[in-house]
């Protein structure tokens, strides 16, 4: 085997980069007998090779990711103690524990490498990866290393940490799940043991002495289940009654009380064995249902606010000319800060120095970047697309125009509760009927044969306990959640499912939602390009990581690449280099014409685009057009038949005509501020409509929160998404009508399962009203009905999904 390895290594004409396995397009970089596509990949390999960590490449075939387009990040702010304090889990003496979010974790090699981090830096004591959450917890000795050094190391090996103003909130764990696990554990323990002790009674064995013993033990055992495990049901039922209405938990609690009361009476008075096995089973099944209903998406968060979008700190320029890192929270009016290329403006500010080209698309929906001059106001959340600029802060981060949105009442209102409206309405109706039947039974027997009255009445209340009914929604909708998430639509909870089923209006955002920057079309305007020109252009843009360069590169396809000499990139303006003696410039009109048109105003009058100048001649320009998402027209036409549609955009109405065919007159609004969008939704709701908001950026945050269902679309689930009820992966956009249909049809399945459950109830009631109910019958009926409903719910929803063509397996995603 050693010989084989050596042969492979001695032929450096491999087709792929050793690190990222991508095909080598241009002259490869050689190092240690391997070829790499770029310096980034080679540097990572060098680090691993130097520390004997090459096993990284053996564990998973696609371990490395290409490093060509890495942004240079400055971790200097991690040297500030007060910033680090916001991130630290635990700190004392020389020890510190901190959890980093690493979106690039994607395979077993990643886990392996990250857990061997101690080999790469002295002072790292141990590291532990949580794969599903994509975090790594690092435990370090602060006398030997620092948080900043660890972050820099992670960045160097290709796993840059994602640090935002949200700080620890990005990586925190959820304690509520623990309590539920304990409750289920206790319920299961109680159920198992009580069943065991109840067996003799089923089989009719009557050993005196043991009957009382088992009865006493059962009574003792049931307490933890009733008091601890069933806690949430008691709380919910009493809260409802206090507010004078009924929900599905009221008849459940009624059943629990009756079961317990009657059983206690029977056991203490030695007249029977009681129904504690049914009670324990009831509590256990209900809890399992609740467990199944909660779907945990480890990596997604439906709770993000603007803090997750902003960085932790910025570079402040002090009056003496020095620089210092300042935490975003501490920014004050009058602070002067430095913002570099691709960085986000943290708070409303005034441009003081430098050329600003701001991309507001995520924040306001404007699709084109805006050029700003000294003295202009810049708004928080915009991204600088040019060189470094200096700005003076005019408002604190939390008081800025955009972040003010989060002060709106829509964000203060209590979480739309977990309670199911459908189940609660049914519960109300059901309780009334059951109580009537119980009352009738009691009156009947009091007249005919009083000795049977107590038996029959309590039997009615016992058998009528809506266990099966309460399991229907958790299992059916829980399965729907899982099916949808396998297909690319991640809904937050079953409440979102119900809201989708009852909505009648859809409101769309435009930029980034119905249009996609990633699918943008690039056209060249000018004389058709010759092959030689194409090669020259491709060679140039291939060197730049600017989004427009990448788009042009992609459009030109695979070409020979010649490495330019004297390549220079002027951020926000253009690129320049020499190939085979010819100077090539590609960039904005301003950039190209500056030698011929000294006046800036004249340059701006040229049509907007990315110009190409080879030698002395400007041969034309590339125009990037936002394109509509694939399948948009079909989707909108489909939805038009089912719902009222509106379009609210923060952009100017340049492209209005494209959207007009799909919306009714007056249903298109442009230049909408985030606040405008929120108010619009509110108005619709006040008029009695149930609204679904479909958006993507921070400017939709208010509307998403206010709407009955807020759906966010994203190209990459690793990206920031504002707080919402559901996330849709952009590549599944065309299937949205199918997803919504599936969700809405599943409501019918619930109706069917309720019918099924009622049949069981009727059978049971027929025994109960005659006073013929025995613990054995109850013990059979209850689990039987529960299992039937569970099976029906899960199987029918899966069959429905299959018949609609939805995917069954997780082939696309990795265990989210």
């Amino acid at each position: 085997m050693l010989i084989e390895q050596q042969t492979a290594q001695s032929t450096p004409s491999q087709q792929v980069c050793k690190h990222c396995k991508e095909p080598l397009e241009q002259e490869p970089i050689l190092f240690a007998d391997h070829a790499f596509c770029c310096n980034g990949c080679q540097m990572v390999y060098e680090i691993l090779h130097g520390n004997e960590l090459e096993a990284y490449y053996e564990m998973d075939q696609q371990a490395g990711r290409h490093q060509r387009h890495r942004a240079a990040v400055d971790y200097a702010f991690l040297a500030e103690p007060n910033i680090v304090d916001q991130l630290v889990d635990f700190q004392e003496a020389n020890r510190l524990k901190l959890t980093f979010l690493l979106p690039d974790i994607h395979c077993s090699s990643c886990i392996w490498l990250l857990e061997h981090l101690d080999r790469l830096q002295a002072g790292i004591i141990s590291t532990r990866v949580h794969f599903l959450k994509k975090t790594v917890s690092v435990y370090i000795d602060t006398s030997l290393t620092s948080v900043r050094q660890v972050a820099e190391l992670l960045d160097q090996i290709g796993y840059p940490p994602k640090l935002s103003l949200a700080g620890k909130n990005e990586t925190k764990t959820n304690p509520a799940n623990r309590r539920m696990a304990l409750q289920v554990g206790v319920a299961g323990f109680v159920f198992g043991n009580i069943m065991l002790l109840s067996f003799p009674d089923y089989l009719g064995l009557q050993e005196s002495g043991f009957q009382e013993l088992f009865g006493a033990l059962n009574l003792l055992l049931i307490f933890p289940a009733v008091v601890f495990s069933a806690q949430d049901y008691w709380r919910s039922a009493f809260t409802a009654l206090k507010h004078r209405h009924l929900n599905i938990d009221v008849p459940i609690v009624l059943g629990i009380i009756t079961l317990f009361g009657r059983s206690a009476y029977e056991i203490i008075s030695r007249t029977g064995a009681g129904y504690l096995d049914s009670l324990a089973g009831l509590i256990l099944f209900l809890l399992i249902g609740k467990w199944f209903q909660q779907k945990t998406y480890y990596y997604l968060s439906f709770e993000r606010d603007y803090k997750s979008y902003f960085p932790l700190a910025v570079t402040q320029l002090l009056s003496d000319g020095s620089q210092q890192q300042k935490a975003l929270d501490e920014l004050e009016e009058g602070n002067r800060i430095l913002i570099r290329n691709q960085q986000i403006i943290p708070a409303d500010a005034i441009l003081v120095k430098g050329e600003a080209l701001i991309d507001y698309s995520f924040v306001s929906g404007e699709s084109e970047s805006v050029l700003k001059q000294s003295g202009d106001k810049l708004f928080a959340g915009g991204r600088q697309m040019g060189g470094s600029i200096e700005v003076d802060i005019i408002r604190k981060v939390s008081q800025s125009y955009l972040t003010q949105l989060w002060n709106d009442a829509a964000f203060k209102k209590k979480e739309k509760g977990q309670a199911s409206q459908l189940a609660d309405r049914f519960g109300t109706w059901f309780t009334r009927i059951i109580l009537s039947i119980a009352a009738l039974t009691m009156t009947f027997w009091l007249f005919v044969d009083p000795s049977v009255a107590a038996n029959a009445t309590t039997a009615v209340l016992i058998i009528a306990c809506p266990c099966a009914i309460a399991l229907s929604i958790p299992f059916t909708f829980g399965n729907v959640l899982r099916i949808l998430s396998r297909n690319g639509l991640f809904l937050k909870n079953t409440h979102a499912i119900e809201a989708i089923q009852t909505m009648d209006t859809m409101v769309f955002d435009k930029t980034g939602t119905l249009t996609s920057a990633q699918q943008a079309k690039v056209r060249f305007i000018g004389e058709p390009l010759s092959t030689e020109q194409v090669v020259l252009i491709k060679s140039m843009v291939h060197q730049s990581s600017h989004p427009v360069s990448r788009q042009i590169s992609e459009m030109l396809g695979k070409q020979t690449i010649i490495l330019p000499d004297n390549f220079q990139e002027f951020p926000g303006k253009g690129i320049q280099g020499t190939i085979q003696g010819q100077t090539i410039q590609i960039g904005s009109a301003d950039f190209i014409y500056r030698t011929r048109l000294p006046k800036r105003e004249e340059a701006i009058k040229q049509p907007k685009g990315t110009y190409v100048k080879i030698g002395q001649m400007t041969i034309g320009y590339f125009k990037v057009q936002q394109s509509l998402r694939k399948g948009l027209s079909t989707l909108l036409l489909r939805f038009n038949k089912q719902f009222r549609l509106f379009l609210l955009s923060g952009d100017r109405n340049r492209e209005q005509a494209i959207f007009e065919p799909f919306f009714e007159k007056g249903h298109l609004q442009f230049n909408q501020s985030p606040g405008d969008k929120l108010s619009f939704i509110r108005q619709l709701q006040d008029a009695g409509h149930q609204v679904l908001m479909f958006g993507d950026g921070l400017n939709d945050a208010g509307a998403l929160k206010q709407a009955d269902v807020g759906l966010v679309i994203t190209e990459d689930i690793n990206n920031f998404t504002p707080s919402c009820d559901g996330i849709l992966e952009a590549k599944h956009f065309e299937q949205l009508p199918k997803f919504l249909d599936f969700t809405r049809l599943s409501r019918r399945l619930i109706y069917w399962s309720y019918g099924l459950a009622l049949i069981y109830n009727i059978i049971g009631l027929s025994y109960a009203v005659q006073g013929l109910l025995s613990p054995l019958i109850a013990a059979i009926l209850m689990p039987l009905s529960s299992v039937t409903i569970i099976a029906f719910g899960v199987i029918s929803s899966s069959v429905l999904a299959w018949s609609m063509g939805l995917k069954k397996d997780d082939s696309d995603h990795f265990a989210v």
Partner: protein, 55 residues
């Protein structure tokens, strides 16, 4: 027949012991991550550079 009583009580005590260890396991965070350990277990220990000398 007293032996049955004895056996039942012992089994209850043991079952309680299991419940207690379940509580401990949940509280100490063992269920926080139920995926990564399955990958971690397949790693080989401490690969040193000289391991191929015998081949």
């Amino acid at each position: 027949m007293a032996i049955i009583l004895f056996l039942i009580l012992i089994s209850l005590v043991i079952a309680l012991g299991f419940l207690a260890s379940f509580f401990w396991a949940v509280k100490s965070g063992q269920y926080e991550d139920d995926y990564t350990p399955s990958v971690r277990i397949l790693f080989e220990d401490n690969q040193k550079p000289n391991k191929n000398t015998d081949l």
